[in-house]
């Protein structure tokens, strides 16, 4: 398999997302198997300092262009397409996030190649890439051979640990030039969720509610429990969509990625998009009356009792212990 292994780095407003490092960790393995260098690609404007943090890669290709300052997928895709044409990598690993997925699919469309989707694992063998992809909402897994050149691969969050992709080494940055035409799409502004009182990504303990909470009033039960435990309340997408909790409390693909010491999931079924946001928690306890809920596959402990009874009972039990102690 000829060509380097590329990782598309994802940075938003001056910050790398965790998945960038997860992909570097995965890319390092694949590059090793393929016997090819691992290169990170960073597209931005005045972001060269950031490029230096990608030391886990053998080299960083940094393209600086004013048109790359804003998250306009067509610009990024056009830039990548130029770089690919010049440098002919074997594969490009694209983060499967809301920000980067459009870059990946537009790029694949421009190049006329497939975009391998839902990839959770990847290796190079026998001159090809072999991927494991998740299908049908997690009900099936497919082993797939990718022979397209270049192989544009969308990788799910959580494929590897981000720490394995971090490095203290200062990266070897190569400036590359791209010329970009005026794009039709115009980015106007970021819409930040109304400033919340609580940053759930900084909490040690999260009491998280899903559809099983049934009514807005019942969230009080979760709040009381969270208060007693010294934590905060968060929620899955349906709860936020109903308006029962603000956007800042949403855990999941479009919400926050949280890694608390304790994640107590009450009435959450555990759809893949939600799991993406909380699977990194140290201890996950799931309460759901449906014994088959996917949340139980990633939880450490679980129970099928009614959460409306468990929450007050747990609150009492914790209070008692705290008083006793």
């Amino acid at each position: 398999m000829a060509g380097n292994i590329w990782v598309l780095a994802e940075a938003s407003r001056g910050q790398f997302s965790e998945i960038t490092f997860e992909l570097l960790a995965l890319g390092r393995e694949v590059a090793g198997q393929a016997g090819a260098p691992l290169e990170a690609v960073l597209l931005g404007s005045n972001a060269r300092e950031l490029a230096q943090k990608l030391g886990a890669a053998d080299a960083v290709l940094y393209a600086d262009n004013a048109a790359l300052a804003d998250p306009v997928p067509e610009s990024a895709a056009a830039a990548l397409a130029q770089l690919i044409k010049e440098r002919q990598p074997a594969a490009v690993l694209v983060p499967l996030t809301n920000i980067s997925v459009d870059v990946g699919v537009v790029l694949a469309a421009q190049l006329g190649v497939p975009f391998l989707n839902y990839c959770k694992d990847l290796k190079a063998e026998g001159g090809n890439l072999a991927a494991t992809c998740v299908l049908y909402g997690g009900k099936m897994e497919a082993t797939v051979t990718v022979s397209a050149k270049p192989a544009i691969i969308g990788v799910l969050p959580g494929a590897r640990s981000a720490d394995a992709g971090r490095s203290d080494k200062v990266a070897a940055v190569t400036d590359v030039a791209v010329s970009l035409a005026e794009q039709k799409l115009r980015f106007k502004r970021y819409l930040d969720p109304a400033a919340g009182d609580v940053d759930i990504t900084k909490q040690n303990i999260l009491v998280s509610v899903g559809r099983g909470i049934q009514t807005k009033d019942n969230i009080e039960l979760a709040q009381e429990l969270a208060d007693v435990m010294g934590g905060a309340v968060s929620g899955s997408r349906p709860v936020i969509d109903q308006g029962w909790l603000p956007l800042t409390r949403q855990v999941g693909k479009s919400g926050m990625n949280v890694k608390p010491k304790l994640y107590l999931a009450l009435g959450i079924s555990g759809a893949p998009e939600h799991q993406e946001g909380m699977r990194g928690a140290q201890t996950i306890i799931a309460i759901n009356t449906d014994a088959k809920a996917p949340i139980f596959n990633i939880a450490h402990y679980g129970a099928t009792v009614d959460l409306l009874e468990l929450a007050p009972a747990l609150k009492e039990a914790v209070e008692k212990r705290k008083q006793g102690a």
């Binding site: 839902y118 009792v305 747990l314 039990a317």
Partner: protein, 257 residues
Amino acid sequence: MDILVLMKVVPDVVEELEVGPDGKSLDTSFLRTILNERDDHALEQALILKDKHGGKVTLLTLDAPDIDDVLFTALAKGADRAVKICGVESVQSTQTVVRIFSEVIAKTPGLLPVDLLLTGVSAIDDLDGLMAAPIAQQLGWPYTGVVTQVTMADKTATVIKEFAGGVRGEYDVPMPAVLGIQAAEKPPRYVPVAKVRAAMKSVTIETVDAPAVEAMAGVEVQQMAKPQVAGHAEMLEGLPEEVAGKICELLAKRGLI
């Protein structure tokens, strides 16, 4: 303001999914299909825009078992025209479907011009790519995905796209454009069975023949299987009070309370 909505059906995961005899695709004997949830939202978004701005909503889909129900339901909700592409295998890779759609859109008179082409941003069976971006590429139209809000004015659509952490982005897109819808502004509306039945009697679904297209090479499934569940939660038994007690113990042991 005319809108074209592309829809497809996907396996209904409420049923048990099994691997077929070839070991690399689904067993179709007990398979049921359901409209892709994101496409349902795309349809709803199209209808919301029609309610506001008038115009026509046209549906384009591949033939599949039970697709007529899907189309009549959409027509009863307010879509104006439904076109079904016949003569295809019902199971196709997404990129093959893209090619079929692109050909049909280009060659069938009356489908274009439209101001917007809406489709769901993703589906649970999109293995070799997503639908909207390649179609936009073929048409030469701008594209943006993960859209949760659309407003139209004159020649420009303003869309809101979801990022992460609750952050969203606002874009201006000149029309005509392709949008990959994540969620409509409101949940898909309800249409009573009586209206669907009325649609079945009063509206005909148009059909066109599928063009012969080459499948896109480069991605090949070797094997499909149910996922090995890496682990499972240790289940705590008993009444809520008992479970609460056990949880309390756990937490204490880990120094969390």
